[in-house]
Amino acid sequence: MITIVNYGVGNLASIKNMLKKAGFESELATETGAIEKASKIILPGIGAFDHCMSEFNKSGLRETVTKKVLEDKTPLLGICVGLQMLMENSEEGVEPGLGWIAGKTIKFKKDKLGDLKIPHMGWTNVHIAKDTALIRNLGEQPRFYFVHSYYVQPDDPSDQMLTAHYGYEFTAAVNRENIFGAQFHPEKSHKYGMKILENFGRL
């Protein structure tokens, strides 16, 4: 069962809808019991970083999710702020991140964007930095829907899975062992996003 961590943040209905279209049942988990049973975990997140972290901390689910991911090596996919939460910290807030991937989340540098506006909002092509099972068979010129003002910067370059360009190159998705994260929204990215969620379901 693919379990979507429901700590009160994020567009969970869309993720569930897209998983269903990709052929996978999923459940929204508000209790540790449901997390325990998970074969795959999705960590959503939207809005302010501190709000997401503190809601996740308050949800009572953090400990179980951590055990599943770090000890049982259950595959996890963080989406948008759910990806940023995997890092050690974020320039957007003061709450510490989960720190499962070494590195930080930083803001787009306005002086390097020209007349591009922040947030980066819209469809952007991605490029493969490290091939993994999650991003197999994406087809030609895969593009995804992004909405963000901050992006992650892993310390270890080999954690970078996809890159994209907005004024300059930034990390669009990461992977380290069983942990995956996407800055974009696969649940709102047509066949490209569906492929990623299908690949995730098959991991």
Partner: protein, 255 residues
């Protein structure tokens, strides 16, 4: 390559999909769910769905209906119509919608823009500025489907909304609505160069070159209704959307 969001706007009236000219003369276009399904197959960048009856009838958003419509949508969705509270905002967002479009509420209760931005992030609030010239030739912001003059100036209002926390401005020329006469480039330039949030051009689009022009005048995204639901010259109903290749060669190229 710089991609520009090209966003069909769908108007819901009496549960059906309609399209207007100058915010009047509504013509029935089809079933909204079916239209969303077709736009989904065409891999549109984003969809804006406006329930144009809700505010007019002083009705709250029909969450069940929204849920039904967006369950067929695998692209970002913006919804507008009758939103007056953060509680409604929350329900709509949980139904699978990414952005809320505020029009009357933004004028009457700008605090709502701030409250939604604070709770759900600026990226989830779009303010639709519907404008036209009044009897004295001055551009004014109108609400209630273009019927009521708010007395506000479009530029001053756009700046106010940015300050309040809006993530995007949907700049909608009432006079050009359904006219196929091209965007109001002058206003697009004026507004987009005075604010730091994206301006979405709406009203008058007839061709891909109109999209390109709007972007060259400062629009961050473009939107159209009639162009995507009608086939000219007789406004025969035909749902269409440019292919990736058309967008790449006729819109993105050289931007």
């Amino acid at each position: 390559m710089k991609r520009i969001r090209v966003i069909p706007v769908l108007l819901i009236h009496n549960r059906g999909l309609v399209k207007s000219v100058k915010f009047k003369d509504y013509k029935y276009v089809g079933d909204p769910i079916n239209a969303v399904r077709i736009f989904n197959e065409k891999e549109v960048d984003e969809l804006a769905i406006l329930d144009i009856d809700a505010s007019a009838e002083n009705r709250v958003p029909d969450i069940e209906r929204i849920e039904e419509i967006v369950s067929e949508a695998f692209m970002p969705i913006a919804y507008g119509g009758g939103i007056t509270t953060t509680d409604q905002a929350k329900k709509i967002l949980s139904a699978g919608v990414e952005k809320l479009i505020l029009n009357r509420s933004a004028v009457k209760n700008p605090v709502l823009v701030s409250e939604i931005a604070k709770q759900f992030g600026s990226q989830s609030v779009v303010v639709s500025i519907d404008y036209k010239r009044n009897l004295f030739g001055r551009q004014g912001v109108y609400i209630e489907n273009g019927k009521t003059n708010s007395g506000l100036d479009p530029l001053a209002f756009a700046k106010l909304m940015e300050e309040a926390g809006a993530g995007e401005i949907m700049l909608n020329s009432i006079e050009r609505d359904g006219s196929f006469s091209g965007y109001d480039l002058e206003m697009i330039e004026k507004i987009s160069h005075s604010i730091n949030i994206p301006t979405i051009a709406v009203g008058g689009a007839a061709s891909l070159s109109d999209f390109k022009e709007a972007v060259q005048h400062g629009a961050s995204a473009v939107s159209a209704g009639s162009m995507f639901v009608f086939q000219r010259p007789h406004r025969a109903v035909l749902i269409s959307y440019p292919s990736q290749q058309e967008l790449e060669t006729q819109v993105y190229e050289g931007l």
